[in-house]
């Protein structure tokens, strides 16, 4: 399970970086989303993926003796997912507006202010 998740994270990061390096705005957006998901999975992985090991100390012990599923990373991911949801929805609306204005999906066409300088 952990190896699968590690591979998945690697694929998500590399696909995200590849898409961000493209010139198309839609691909840029998809790349950012994939990178964000890769990060979330990475945090999930660091919280120990084990079955049936709740983070409760047994009554006769003072500390954890066994490995346990850490709940904090899951709370962190929940926060991160909500935040990235907000940011992504803003980004989609922004890119849609930009597309409607300049009628192009190419990031190289975003340079009108620079041209006015020359």
């Amino acid at each position: 399970m952990e190896l699968l998740l590690v591979l998945l994270i690697g694929v998500l990061y590399s696909a995200g970086v590849y898409l961000i390096l493209r010139r198309s705005m839609v691909r840029l957006l998809l790349g950012i989303m994939l990178l964000g998901n890769g990060t979330n999975l990475l945090i999930f992985l660091l919280g120990n993926i084990v079955k049936g090991k709740p983070p409760i100390i047994r009554a006769d012990l003072k500390v954890f003796e066994d490995i346990y599923a850490d709940p904090i990373p899951q709370a962190l991911i929940l926060t991160a997912i909500v935040i990235s949801f907000g940011l992504t929805s803003f980004a989609i609306v922004l890119l849609k507006r930009v597309y409607a204005l300049i009628n192009s999906d190419d990031l190289d066409d975003l340079n009108t202010p620079e041209e006015e300088d020359l």
Partner: protein
């Protein structure tokens, strides 16, 4: 010492924004509320600063969870100084906005978003939990996205795409770093991390994580290879928004860099060299960019990049004197850069354009206001005894002690270029004869005296603050001396947060 008042600067701006949301279409009420909220925020920040300056480090445990487990807010002298500076800048910008921002923008929630942004900044300065720092960064960037795009002109949206993409990317890097850091230490509290990170067996993972933080904060604070979003977006929004961004947003990245690299990761020789090289490149690219640009706000954007290098270099040298110089410069920079963009807003009101070849004759028309602006420009250049001069002495001394001559050379070159750029600006905008061929509109003249005061007063407030920094440098040096001690010797911070 536990003190629940330290989150007052956050709460005041939160409640101001919420009340303003309730008066959505009443722009006059919103303006009054904004100035009132900013004044109250200033009063409480000043109170916090005095309390911390006279006493010890204050902390607050959210929901009364004890330190390493719950979220903790910490006000040491560094945080409370920056909160105070933020509140001064916020007050100035909110007064300026009441006239300088168009009614259409106010009707779409300019003021509430502005106060959410200031709330986010205060939160980032005060938090003592690294994941909470991430959340405040997100509050800041989502508010800044809205402020940047509000109005929806073509240039604004184009700038916003670059700004949005790089800032979300920075957050992703930062979050990845936090995830790995939690994985290897099992804690998120910065004081606790400071204790546990040196105990990690495999220090190469720690160095790798530090790289994630350098890239994340490097994008936020516009350091050399990662700064391109800044000059391509800061000239597009209204000047009041650009003033908040230019004065405060990049500085919060620098604050986080200082906090993380003094408390959690102590830079090794390699990392220090990397920081100094980045600083030199930032200084040079920023300075050369500023020479080429003709639009006033683009020019100022490049000057921001250039002067970020001074502060990053101070961190890279990693001695007490370097820290004193860098933090003094940070304090000076917040006041001056905010003011520069407010000045560009005033010039736009007076002439209707910011293109230097088309401008001219401001000094003969508005001699008093021009002199006020000259004071700010002089402190930016660092003419003694104004505020830009003192930190440079410390930075020179520190880099001489560290034999880092390339850094000194770039500091001197950048200071000369700043002088050249500002002298050129002064000659083009203020002394040159007003152009007769261009049709320029002076909307400033038509305003009544009350509105004129509201536009000039914030420039005056910030100029007075700059004068105070320069003429009362002894006090500021005492403050930065204590801040540098706190940064280099973190045990009081750790004790204040974790208890004995």
């Amino acid at each position: 010492m536990i003190d629940n008042h330290i989150i007052a600067p956050i709460l005041i701006h939160l409640f101001t924004a919420i009340i303003q949301l309730a008066c959505w279409s009443k722009t006059v009420t919103q303006r009054v509320l904004s100035i009132a909220g900013a004044t109250l925020g200033f009063a409480f920040s000043l109170g916090l600063f005095i309390k911390v300056y006279n006493g010890e480090i204050l902390t607050m445990n959210a929901a009364n969870w004890d330190a390493p487990f719950g979220i903790v807010f910490v006000a040491d002298l560094f945080s409370s100084t920056l909160v105070l500076l933020t509140s001064i800048a916020a007050l100035a910008v909110s007064i300026f906005s009441s006239v300088g921002v168009g009614k259409a923008r106010m009707l779409y929630g300019y003021f509430p978003i502005f106060h959410f942004l200031i709330m986010g900044l205060n939160g980032a300065f005060l938090t003592g939990d690294i994941f909470n720092l991430y959340v405040w960064f997100e509050v800041i960037i989502i508010a800044s996205f809205v402020l940047l795009t509000l109005g929806g002109r073509k240039e604004q949206l184009e700038g916003a795409v670059k700004y949005m993409a790089l800032n979300i990317l920075a957050s992703t890097f930062f979050l990845t770093g936090i995830g790995i850091l939690y994985g290897i230490t099992g804690t998120l509290n910065m004081a606790d991390l400071s204790v546990k990170v040196p105990l990690v067996a495999d220090q190469s993972i720690v160095n790798l994580t530090a790289m994630f933080f350098i890239i994340g904060f490097g994008i936020k604070s516009a350091v050399f290879p990662l700064y391109f979003w800044l000059p391509s977006s800061y000239h597009t929004p209204p000047s009041a928004v650009a003033a908040t961004f230019g004065g405060l947003l990049t500085k919060v990245g620098l604050y986080a860099m200082f906090r993380v690299f003094t408390l959690i990761f102590i830079p090794n020789e390699f990392l220090r060299t990397v920081l100094i090289v980045l600083a030199i490149m930032t200084i040079l690219t920023g300075a050369f960019g500023a020479i080429v640009k003709l639009d006033i706000r683009r020019l100022f954007s490049y000057l921001i990049v250039c002067h970020i290098g001074f502060i990053v270099g101070g961190l890279g040298l990693y001695t007490k004197i370097a820290f004193m110089g860098a933090i003094f410069y940070l304090i000076h920079d917040i006041m001056v850069k905010t003011n520069l963009f407010l000045i560009s807003g005033l010039i736009r009101q007076m002439r209707g354009t910011l293109d230097t070849p088309k401008l001219g004759g401001l000094y003969s028309e508005y001699p008093k206001i021009s002199l006020l602006m000259a004071l700010v420009l002089f402190s930016l250049v660092g003419i003694p005894p104004l505020s830009g001069f003192w930190p440079k002495i410390y930075l020179f001394e520190a880099s001489f002690n560290a034999n880092s001559y390339f850094f000194i050379a770039s500091l001197i070159l950048a200071s000369f270029i700043t002088l050249y750029v500002i002298a050129k600006l002064w000659a083009e905008v203020f002394w040159k004869e007003a152009s007769t061929t261009e049709l320029l509109t002076d909307t400033f003249k038509e305003l009544d005296i009350f509105r004129k005061t509201l536009l000039v007063l914030p420039v005056g407030i910030l100029a007075a603050a700059t004068l105070f920094l320069g003429l009362n440098a002894e006090f500021i040096i005492q403050v930065v001396d204590r801040i540098s001690n706190e940064l280099l010797n973190t045990s009081p911070y750790i004790e204040a947060v974790l208890g004995k």
